[in-house]
Symmetry: C2
Subunit: 254 residues, 2 copies
DNA sequence: TCAAAAGTGTTTCCAATACACCCATGG
DNA sequence: CCATGGGTGTATTGGAAACACTTTTGA
């Protein structure tokens, strides 16, 4: 720190990359069955070199006068139209050769969208952004990311994500961010940031299970989360079964 | 990301700041009592402006060709002589006005020293580095950092650490890093990185308790960690009580 | 012989699990 | 009226907590 003059040394470009998760609701063709929740990841198709036409995380460069969180929110909005999300810093990637354009380090964010963002689905052509299905195979430690055209697998060995068709080191960034998400869901009740304000408990459990891999009896799960949620007077309707009461996250008082 | 030329925009300086925790052993004057373990934090006294003569985290600037982790390890060694430590990224601080010298963002690391570093204590004059006592008052959410001359309190309100006599935004960085440490100790068995290779279970528990605030019956604690440690044939000696078997961390097999 | 911490045994109790069963709705 | 998921009640059980008690050492 001593004798360092900030003009004496070359400085890196600093970027933010955003790993955005959301929940989609897909109506089953069989009306007897309930809708199914899926975990989704937001990617963009790159237009420019390097990795042109390949998929990458949305992201961009830190500008003077803003924080890196502001960078992340700004770039996410510009590139995908997604707004109103919770950000959690999930890593810093600084290998000198990670970007062929030059010396660029990246600060990654885990981002959780609490609304099923129709906006960006409709506008995905304009934005070049796509929500991909996301799943994690716990027993083999493999992440699968797919849409109707493409499929990416992220395998993990010796502490590193193996290279795949995703741009840059984004496979690694996604792997790390998902592991962080899993941790935060299990230990810090962050599931609620993936849900709308009002939700039935079955929906809470579905998403909890998708992310953590922890399957549980519905009745027991209901009791376990009882002190973390509050009842409302709202109910679901139009389902081929008993309506379910809607709950909201309980806000702690001090 | 599109149309961005990395030479078009001004770039920030990037620094690493390191929040280093270690464990000291202090022999009690009363020989009947056992030695007492204390949690310590490593700080340096700044020689230059800004904040000259005030205490700060060790840290320094990212150089071309190295990763930010390498920066952290290099600066820690240069400024304090401390080596062989585990690093965990604990945040990124990028408020534009956080450093009066200019546009400097900081990547912070939680660092755990598994040896009671006598080297840097002896050499602390040369290095201008000091190990401070560190304690966390859970019920008031206050961190206290002190040595024989100085005392710093870190109070937390509305999601932010209140300013104190530590340099820059280092109060905030320390607060965040300690909370991360607590989490990692409770959920991910990271206590072992603060211990030597061989240790009695009482020592493991002491440190676990200091950090987490979780007090427990010694017998019950012993049973709880049984599957995380392995017995050795070594024993402590020269204590005014029954010798304790030394254990080591169990390494998982696959 | 005593204080202090190491270490084991045992009882109690609570919370996680399993599972049976009723409810409400649309098909 | 039946399939489906919502929702409650209850018995079981495994592990956490409490605590009594023995062991081994140096002072």
């Amino acid at each position: 720190m001593n004798k360092y003059n900030i003009n004496d040394y070359e400085r890196p470009s600093v970027a933010a990359d955003i790993v955005t998760f959301g929940i989609s609701t897909e109506e089953s063709s069989n009306k007897r069955h309930s809708h199914i929740k899926k975990l989704k990841l937001l990617l963009i198709k790159r237009k420019e070199q390097p990795f042109a036409q390949q998929y990458a995380l949305p992201g961009g460069f830190l500008r003077k006068g803003e924080t890196i969180e502001q960078t992340a929110l700004r770039e996410l909005e510009e590139e995908t139209g997604v707004e109103n999300i919770k950000l959690i810093n999930s890593g810093v990637y600084s290998a000198p050769d990670r970007d062929s354009r030059g010396w660029i380090i990246s600060v990654s964010f885990l981002a959780l969208s609490n609304t099923v963002s129709l906006k960006s689905n409709e506008a995905s052509d304009a934005y070049n952004a796509q929500w991909f299905d996301f799943s994690y195979d716990e027993s083999n430690d493999i992440i699968r990311i797919s849409n109707s055209d493409e499929e990416f697998e992220i395998k993990y060995e010796n502490g590193k994500a193996l290279p795949n068709n995703l741009a840059f080191d984004h496979a690694q960034i996604i792997y790390d961010a998902f592991m962080r998400l899993k941790d935060e869901v299990i230990y810090h009740d962050i599931v609620f940031d993936l849900l709308p304000d009002l939700f039935p408990l079955s929906e809470l459990q579905q998403i909890y299970t998708i992310i953590t891999g922890i399957k549980e009896d519905a009745g027991n799960f209901r009791r376990k989360v009882k002190d973390k949620v509050e009842e409302t007077d709202e109910f679901t309707s139009n389902k081929a079964h008993r309506p379910s009461k809607l709950y909201k996250k309980r806000v702690k008082e001090y």
